[in-house]
Amino acid sequence: MAVDITLLFRASVKTVKTRNKALGVAVGGGVDGSRDELFRRSPRPKGDFSSRAREVISHIGKLRDFLLEHRKDYINAYSHTMSEYGRMTDTERDQIDQDAQIFMRTCSEAIQQLRAEAHKEIHSQQVKEHRTAVLDFIEDYLKRVCKLYSEQRAIRVKRVVDKKRLSKLEPEPNTKTRESTSSEKVSQSPSKDSEENPATEEHPEKILAETQPELGTWGDGKGEDELSPEEIQMFEQENQRLIGEMNSLFDEVRQIEGRVVEISRLQEIFTEKVLQQEAEIDSIHQLVVGATENIKEGNEDIREVPHL
């Protein structure tokens, strides 16, 4: 276990001070010394860099606090059932999203700026390395805070999608009836036409015959009461067919949804990787360009040789 000997150190400092006084050794310590220390601190290059870096960090910290503060309300799905206190409307959420995005953009711009300036006027390799590492840390911090934000948002988007899906399921019977009424409306017009052209097709008559009982069931005012059992059966079959079609469509849509989610995740991974590789590819590009030039020069040199 480590032992804290800081107090021991301070005690040694006192001892040395008193000893030096006793010996009359001139030393920078003592009362003057402390003032000297204060003076010495201020003209020391405080470093533009580090104060600005700290500023950026405090900004990011504010963003993080802001996000964390409103996180609970943001995520809360049942806000419409809760009391006024915990409610957050969608507009408020959008506002938060927008603000957060602007903030993140400014922060990353600030980091880029710092990066560009960090290497000016500095000749020491160690300081350069140190500053690069510091900027890496800050970027990493920003990324982590952004993750907070994107997690929140992903939850929200997912909720919305789920809600929409749920809300789609309810009016299904309505949509079916609506569809049948629309089909009946569609078939009404050809039936009207067929009245004018009775000899053309049997089909419109059939449609007429089909729609009429439907009209009848809906009480549309046509008042025809013919509903033969075969026709009922046919209607049933058609209904079933339509239901089956809708179901399979619905399944496919769900599958596609799932796949799209996966693909978006993949895309995220890929973009990350591509961005990572961008820098490498740039450097490779440079190297290759340099290499081709070297080879060109080499070839020229070789060509000159026989002429010597």
Partner: protein
């Protein structure tokens, strides 16, 4: 109830690996001496780490550069290098409190290199040196900048969860040769002993336990035991500053089980350092350049068919770190080599299968739009693709490890084949277990194909050490001639002769157990699967568990077995009020925890033997430590240069110390320690 739970928790706590403890201590130090908690949205703090070579050796097996980065360290620099001032940055120092280091630190303070200073000393700093720093800080008006000063008590290097060495930088100081040379002076011996004891003390402070110490009589180990006991006792008595009380000890305070420290001297068993080995880690250490968990390989680049006069073959140097994260290494470092080769092959095959799986997905993706039927498969495959892509980093890491081990194992295999190490290993096992030998020793020594001269020397030395009766003069001459013909230097033999003469006085020389190795046949699965590890002609030997002398001693002491070899070991208990040694152990129960420390040097063969021994015992833990780690080559080198002892054992007078100007001066001046040191057994009472 509570106490029982606490006791088990405490037992587990003490058993927590030494590596974990040291890593935790280091991380806390790097976190400005405040316990480190991971916080995913914490603000970054940055700092600079300054260490000396000692600190470097301690940190490098435990924390990688990436982990240092995660702790916020932007730069890590050597103390004695050119360092530029970096404004506004706290600096963490991790150094030994030596004169040079203190001077350099004072210089740093004067030059105002950093904003604040966190000073951490690897072992305790003396009051006077602390005042030197205080002086410099005052002169530089930097007293408030020195934020914290700590004594870390981390003066040892942990290599494995259960293995540690004392130091690497100044290992000549505490080497086997340093301890056993006859021309050593009293003061030098004191220094050596103090160094060893300091490190052991730091070790127990970090472990958080006060051990019960047992050691053999009349050896350097005894001296270490006496000093360590004294130091622990002093520290325990000093209630105010004791390092073993209060929250530092933690749960260990409730432990009813204290660990056992067994201090042995290298001289009880000189055959093991010379032994050829067959397990992976020990082989890597023996045959390749393996140092602080890093192995350095020289690879020759492929044959270049360049015209005459063109560039010679270039050798690439590659180094690999064998870390605890490397699952293959953790699983197989104690396995016999053929098993390792097989496992690498298996890993490679499973990796290839996974790679093919990912590639197959790619081709299925390409079918989209061409085949309607494939679309229904797609929905699964999209998910598969995601999981494949997200598992890519893992796959790449696996590939890297497989490459690493393929290279290392291939290098080892080359050595085995070139030097016929399997033959040596088998033969030595037979010698050490006293079974009948099918080939004559002389044959092997004279065989020009088998092994380097050093291998032959090792074999012969083991034979010489293990035989009950010394070979006759004529035989010896024959052997000597054969060895010289093979190109060996005979100095080590002289030393071993002397050593053997001393040990003769003791009880029967260490016997190595009585089991054999069984060759499993030349044709193995490895050959049949056409692997790249063509082990043709290499015997597939199976190791049978046999206990080396050190393991046997441990077994006796830990299980409280009675055995003439260990019965008269001294007993020290620093916690007992009456501070004199009694040979009667107070504790009658077997120990659950033990630490074996070899004064004079150890190696991986012993370590592996202990690990194998304790595997069979439930709930028991062993830690292995030594003052330095050497392989056979290094050991022989040390032994070669120990000036010959003069033969007269009976001279124990204390003479005037005169510094030896030339090592070859064979005017032996036995120190008062000769009594204890040179006799590797019981003192003959006059």
């Amino acid at each position: 109830m509570a106490s029982a739970a606490a006791a088990t928790a405490a037992a587990a706590a003490v058993a927590a690996s030494i590596r974990e403890r040291q890593t935790v201590a280091l991380k806390r130090m790097l976190n400005f001496n405040v316990p480190h908690i991971k916080n995913s949205t914490g603000e970054p703090v940055w700092k600079v780490l300054i260490y000396d070579r000692f600190g470097q050796d301690i940190i490098s097996p435990l924390l990688s550069v990436k982990e240092l980065r995660d702790m916020g360290i932007t730069l890590h620099l050597l103390l004695h290098s050119d360092r530029d001032p970096i404004p506004d940055v706290p600096a963490v120092y991790f150094v030994m409190p030596t004169e040079e280091n203190i001077d350099r630190m004072c210089q740093d303070l004067r030059n105002q290199l950093y904003e604040s200073y966190y000073l951490n000393f690897i072992s305790a700093i003396s009051r006077s040196k602390l005042e030197d720093i205080a002086n410099a800080a005052l002169a530089a008006s930097a007293v408030t900048q020195v934020a914290k000063v700590f004594d870390q008590y981390l003066n040892f290097i942990t290599l494995e969860d259960d293995m540690f060495v004392l130091c690497n930088q100044n290992k000549e100081l505490v080497s086997y040769r340093a301890i056993n040379r006859p021309d050593i002076t009293d003061t030098e011996m004191e220094t050596v002993m103090d160094t060893i004891v300091d490190s052991l003390f730091c070790f127990f402070v970090t472990l958080g336990a006060v051990p019960i110490i047992r050691c053999s009589r009349g050896t350097a180990a005894e001296m270490v035991a006496v000093k360590l006991d004294k130091k622990l006792r002093e520290n325990l008595r000093d209630a105010r500053n004791s390092l073993f009380t209060g929250d530092t000890l933690g749960a260990g305070q409730f432990s009813f089980q204290r660990p056992l420290l067994v201090l042995v001297d290298r001289n009880i068993d000189l055959a093991t350092p010379l032994h050829h080995t067959w397990t992976y880690q020990a082989l890597v250490h023996d045959v390749l350049d393996f140092h602080l968990n890093r192995v350095n390989l020289e690879e020759s680049s492929g044959v270049e068919n360049s015209p005459a006069g063109a560039r010679p073959k270039r050798k690439n140097k590659k180094s690999y770190d064998l870390t605890p994260v490397d699952k293959f290494w953790q699983k197989h470092k104690g396995s016999p080599f053929p098993e390792v080769a097989e496992s690498v092959q298996q890993e490679l095959e499973s990796y290839r299968a996974q790679e093919d799986e990912v590639k197959r997905l790619k081709s299925i993706m390409g079918l989209e739009g061409e085949d309607e039927g494939a679309i229904s498969m797609l929905s699964d495959n999209t998910a598969k693709l995601t999981s494949a892509v997200s598992s890519l980093p893992e796959l790449l890491e696996k590939k890297r490890l497989i490459d690493l081990h393929t290279n290392v194992a291939t290098a080892v295999l080359e050595h085995i084949k070139a030097r016929k190490l399997d033959v040596y290993f088998e033969y030595e096992e037979k010698i050490m277990s006293k079974t009948t030998l099918d080939k004559s020793l002389l044959d092997i020594i004279s065989d020009p194909d088998a092994g380097t001269p050093e291998d032959k020397m090792r074999l012969f030395l083991i034979y010489y050490i293990s035989t009950q009766q010394a070979p006759s003069e004529a035989d010896l001459e024959q052997y000597k001639k054969a060895l010289t013909d093979a190109g060996c230097n005979l100095n080590p033999l002289q030393y071993i002769k002397q050593w053997k003469a001393f040990t003769k006085m003791a009880s029967a020389p260490a016997s190595y157990g009585s089991t054999t190795t069984k060759p499993m046949g030349l044709l193995s699965r490895v050959m049949n699967t056409g692997s790249q590890f063509v082990m043709e002609g290499v015997k597939n030997l199976v190791l049978k568990q046999q206990n080396l002398p050190v393991t046997r001693i441990l077994d006796n002491l830990m299980e409280m077995k009675s055995n003439p070899e260990t019965d008269d070991y001294r007993y020290f208990d620093p916690k007992m009020l009456r501070g004199n040694d009694s040979s009667v152990p107070r504790n009658k129960n077997p120990f659950q925890e033990a630490i074996v420390f070899v004064v004079g040097g150890g190696n991986y063969i012993e370590y592996q033997n202990l690990v194998d021994y304790i595997k069979g015992k439930q709930g028991k833990h062993i830690l292995y430590g030594c003052s330095e780690l050497f392989n056979a080559t290094q050991f022989i080198k040390q032994v070669k240069y120990i000036p010959l002892l003069f033969v007269a054992i009976g001279i124990f007078q204390k003479r005037e110390r005169k510094p030896l100007t030339h090592l070859n001066q064979l005017q032996p001046k036995p120190s008062s320690y000769t009594k204890i040191r040179c006799c590797h057994g019981r003192l003959r009472k006059p």
